[in-house]
């Protein structure tokens, strides 16, 4: 492997670029015009523009990315997560071009990308799957027939998509037919495919996933679980490991199932087996993520294994130099995803220039960040700014460390989810470890309610700055940070900057 192209952005591009540099492999950032001043572009050895801000024209533009790899002499591509990371056509194209895709082979991506196909593979391999219809249908009668085969509450889900579209929870069967009709119609209009499948509804479910590493020499290990039940808008907000729901016996069983799942899928590289975990400790295969996860750092903290470096090392043919029995979970790690959003106002995204930034640091703190002071958060991409991770000897220590880290995290210029995280971490139910996927919804009054009253120290500080300081107060202000800056030549320099 001589040179790696990273057609991604933000904190994960920074993470991947660091890993390449640590392995002494030159690395090229493939960036959109909107990202010319982004941190990952500055950290890469080279940077090449692949198109306009719109993702379809840049980070999702397979032709432009392949061209960029050719032009810069890259013989490998690390896709990060999101964008083309789980796109089997992209992986296949690279395979055809003779460029190493740092991830699993394209047929594996394709199979795992289909809910129906992946469930069929897992069922065959003896992995528990959620009872339901393996084969979907867009025929209302067929779906009704399949529904009758399963007892109790069920979920209707669209085969082609996610994000809640075409999804219906059926607790009471009296209006089943109209709900099926709605789901088919919604799926058809959202994804151009009305295929609906049925799943047994699991009460108070948790989302627990297992990290997998599989090399090209037949060795597959799991690196224990991550508990990802705290979600909003079907997106993870906070993850931790170990899960408070597992004991060693259960952990071993699920880990074994995850390794079997990876083996059944013919897996290679880093991947994640997601399980739905029910009230009675039953677990079901949900899906397999064929890429690095956002939440990988908590596993790195507790196992000491560098997952991103291993992705690259596996892709260049290296053998895993440890076995399952060498891996030990040590301590506890928590990740908070810091989003650019106004969590209290229905999580609406927030963008603008970061006028002030103070990032947490200290023992047991890792902040995988993609931002800097003076940089502008643009409306084109995912609102993730950074991932703050805290490690402690145990869960209590990790929570406390994270609380102190969040208290020291200052981001001005945009709204963020920092306060949301602080409230989650001080919530009694969370502290008890009772985290189900419904957690945020169930506690929204405490978690998203209005803030505490303003303490007197704040009034004193404001008085000192506003009144006593008068004109002499040196406030940081956006003008000084803004691009273009007061520098006379900047305007001209920016011309064609994105090309």
């Amino acid at each position: 492997m001589n040179k790696v192209l990273v057609p991604n952005r933000g904190e994960i591009a920074v993470r991947v670029i660091r890993a390449c540099k640590e392995l002494d492999i030159p690395v090229v950032a493939a960036y959109s015009e909107a990202d010319i001043r982004s941190l990952h572009v500055q950290l890469a050895d080279e940077a090449v523009c692949i198109g306009p801000p719109s993702p379809l024209e840049s980070y999702l533009n397979i032709d432009a990315i392949v061209r960029a790899a050719r032009e810069t002499g890259c013989d490998a591509v690390h896709p990060g997560y999101g964008f083309l990371a789980e796109n089997d056509r992209f992986a296949e194209r690279l395979e055809k071009e003779g460029i190493t895709f740092i991830g699993p082979p394209s047929p594996v991506i394709r199979a795992m990308g289909s809910k129906i196909q992946s469930r069929a593979i897992m069922k065959k391999a003896g992995i528990p799957i959620i009872p339901g219809s393996l084969e979907g249908s867009d025929d209302v009668d067929e779906i009704m027939k399949a529904a009758r085969k399963i007892d109790g509450p069920i979920f209707l889900k669209a085969s082609a998509g996610g994000g809640g579209k075409g999804m219906r929870l059926v607790l009471d069967r009296t209006n089943l037919e109209s709900l099926v009709r709605e789901a088919v119609g919604e799926a058809r209009s959202a994804f151009g495919d009305g295929t609906i499948y049925i799943e047994k509804y699991i009460e108070s479910p948790r989302h627990i996933e297992f990290q997998i590493l599989a090399d090209s020499h037949g060795s597959i290990v799991h690196l224990f679980e991550r508990e990802c039940s705290v979600q909003r808008r079907h997106q993870k907000v906070l993850e931790e490991t170990p899960s408070t729901a597992l004991d060693d016996k259960l952990r071993k069983r699920m880990g074994k199932a995850a390794v079997s799942a990876a083996r059944a899928a013919g897996y290679r590289n880093a991947g994640t087996v997601e399980f739905m975990f029910g009230k009675n400790q039953e677990f079901y295969f949900l899906e397999m993520n064929t890429r690095i996860q956002v939440e990988h750092p908590i596993t790195e903290f507790t196992t000491g294994v560098d997952l991103v470096k291993w992705q690259i090392r596996i892709a260049r043919g290296e053998e895993l130099d440890f076995r399952q029995e060498d891996l030990v979970q040590r301590g506890h790690a928590i990740e908070c995803r810091i989003y650019a959003e106004d969590s209290a106002k229905n999580f609406i995204p927030s963008c603008g220039v970061i006028t002030l930034l103070k990032e947490p640091w200290g023992p047991g703190i890792r902040n995988d960040s993609g931002i800097y002071e003076g940089w502008e958060v643009s409306p084109y991409y995912d609102p993730i700014l950074s991932k703050l991770v805290a490690y402690g000897e145990n869960r209590e220590a990790a929570i406390k460390r994270m609380q102190l880290a969040l208290d020291s995290y200052v981001i001005h210029g945009i709204e963020t989810s920092i306060d949301l995280h602080k409230r989650i971490l001080s919530n009694d139910t969370f502290i008890k470890g009772e985290t189900y996927t419904s957690f945020i919804e169930a506690h929204q009054d405490e978690i998203l309610g209005s803030p505490d009253s303003v303490p007197v120290e704040a009034f004193i500080a404001a008085a000192l700055a506003e009144e006593l300081g008068g004109a002499g107060v040196t406030l940081r202000n956006e003008t000084a940070l803004e691009r273009p800056t007061p520098w006379h030549y900047v305007g001209k320099w920016e011309i064609g900057g994105g090309r």
């Binding site: 808008r233 995204p349 006028t355 002030l356 103070k358 704040a458 004193i460 008085a463």
Partner: protein
């Protein structure tokens, strides 16, 4: 000296007196000894009694902000009558619906002349790969629609105007 300070919409009266090497603040009947203040590089440090405090200040399009003790506050200047109650406010009681973010219009649910209820979604904006419903602030009738599907809008653009019900 009497000062009026407004933070996050809450106004307080502060009485400040210079006492040799420190200041005495009186707030809500309580007294605070404030000393050793210093402002440098946007950071204010000072002591309240035995406690060292640090506050950071910034100014941007959203107004003045102060960070202290793990929280961010909006600072309104004493003269400003129109207190902002927070950030990202996108709708006015007068029925003007402004975009709370830059993004793409992906749905416009109303037309001129439609009757709407408060909290009814009138427009959907996609920003940062998320769809965000923008709601009517008041009951009323749609007076004007200023956007169409596919439009790129910016922070503060007026999307819809509503004639509030009397």
């Amino acid at each position: 000296m009497e000062l009026t300070i407004c933070i996050d919409g809450v106004e307080k009266q502060l009485d400040v007196e210079k006492k040799g090497d420190h200041y005495r603040f009186s707030i809500d009947g309580k007294e605070y000894r404030v000393s050793s203040g210093s402002l440098s590089n946007g950071a204010l440090t000072f002591f309240i009694g035995n406690r060292s405090c640090v506050a950071y200040f910034s100014e941007g399009s959203g107004g003045r902000r102060m960070a202290m003790g793990g929280r961010t506050y909006s600072i309104e200047s004493g003269e400003n009558e129109n207190h902002r109650g927070g950030t990202g406010a996108s709708a006015h009681a007068d029925g003007t619906v402004e975009s709370p973010m830059p993004g793409n219009i992906i749905a416009v649910n109303v037309s001129e002349g439609d009757a709407v209820r408060a909290n009814q979604a009138v427009v959907v904006i996609e920003s940062m790969k998320m769809q965000n419903e923008i709601a009517a602030p008041v009951d009323g009738e749609i007076k004007k629609v200023n956007c169409a599907v596919g439009d790129q809008v910016n922070f503060g653009d007026v999307l819809v105007e509503i004639e509030p019900e009397k």
